[in-house]
Assembly symmetry: C2
Homo-oligomer: 215 residues x 2
């Protein structure tokens, strides 16, 4: 990329990965510049600031990288080629698997990445809060689409369904970080979705006999 000048001696993409692992496991504030530089191959402060600008700027870049990779388990929420129920189910199951996987820190970076913050780092908290709000909007949109489609009845129960799904979704971070197994989390998702099904419009005539998913 840089066409002139001395080339960078460390791999910037790998550095972002290393930083993501640290921020994911410990959160924004407890992760120190010393740790970050060490994880990038003991680079110097000057190299760090030349490459990333600041700790906060690096964190924002890490969040974007997370959303573009691991965070894609939530992509079904905005995929209108899926039925609303499939979108919700794939998102919940994908998140359950991803958050409890052992190949990387557990839980969701967007939920736990800045949950303990000093007042001076409120912008960092706000960044993640906005992302969580996006999730809520996506889940609500799925439920509303299902009601508009006639898949779900409009009722008091379906009114609060988005809140239930969102609360459960955000609770998975705590459970995964506390060691809950992937299969158990997935089984909980399965059972939670009966809350959807008991509010579904019955289709005695329709094709899908028992709602079996490909995933």
């Amino acid at each position: 990329m840089a066409r002139t000048g001395r080339p960078r001696e460390f791999d910037r993409d790998r550095a972002i990965d290393a930083a993501m692992a640290l921020f994911w496991a410990q959160g924004y504030e407890p992760t120190s510049l010393t740790q970050l530089k060490a994880s990038m191959g003991n680079i110097s402060p000057a190299s760090f600031y030349a490459a990333f600008g600041s700790k906060e700027a690096l964190f924002r870049e890490v969040v974007q990288h997370y959303l573009a990779t691991y965070g894609q388990v939530m992509a079904p929420l905005w995929d209108e080629s899926l039925s609303p129920r499939e979108a919700i189910e794939r998102t919940l199951r994908g998140s359950a698997r991803m958050q409890s996987a052992r190949a990387h820190p557990t839980g969701c970076l967007v939920v736990s990445g800045a949950s303990n913050c000093s007042p001076e780092n409120e912008p960092v908290q706000a960044l993640l809060a906005a992302e969580r709000q996006r999730t809520r909007t996506g889940i609500r949109a799925c439920v509303e689409r299902a009601i508009a489609n006639g898949e779900l009845k409009a009722s008091a129960a379906t009114d609060v369904l988005p809140d239930i799904l969102t609360t459960f979704f955000h609770g998975m971070t705590c459970e995964a970080r506390d060691g809950m197994a992937s299969d158990d989390l997935d089984a909980a998702v399965t059972s939670l979705l009966t809350l959807w099904d008991i509010n579904a419009v019955k289709r005695g005539t329709a094709k899908r006999p028992k709602k079996k998913l490909t995933d």
Copy 2:
């Protein structure tokens, strides 16, 4: 209490309350000694350490105080004079109200009090993790008691019911901190409990027609 020596000039109980508010809102690590001392009336470091020993010791005391006050919304879990369903319902509704109240920081201190931690403060994380485990055990015990009582059917759905309830319960902290209204959280609890009811043993002959709670 202290029978001899110069009496303390600040109210230790009020100091614990002030510390709880800070730890609750910001978490363990981001809360500095400077903030703590300021919230206690600008006491000196010597007074602080004489009274509390260390930041970690104060935090442990704060957690105990929290459990003995706000945390008592979970007491129904271990009250065997209540039916299991009432115990769960009172705990969830009480927590929903408490965590979203505006008179104090939102969310649950046990969930968010040390969610971002440096490796050196792992004992603090472990303290809260153990408390969360106690909650899981309590919820699971309620479900198992209901099955033993014949209130719930034993099934795959009731096997995972504790996990669902726990995940939702821990998710409330995120929602409350993100500004979810008390009534909305409570409505979500109401709807979530239908997951209990659809697994309840039907009693066509029994007295309770529609499961109405006093709370």
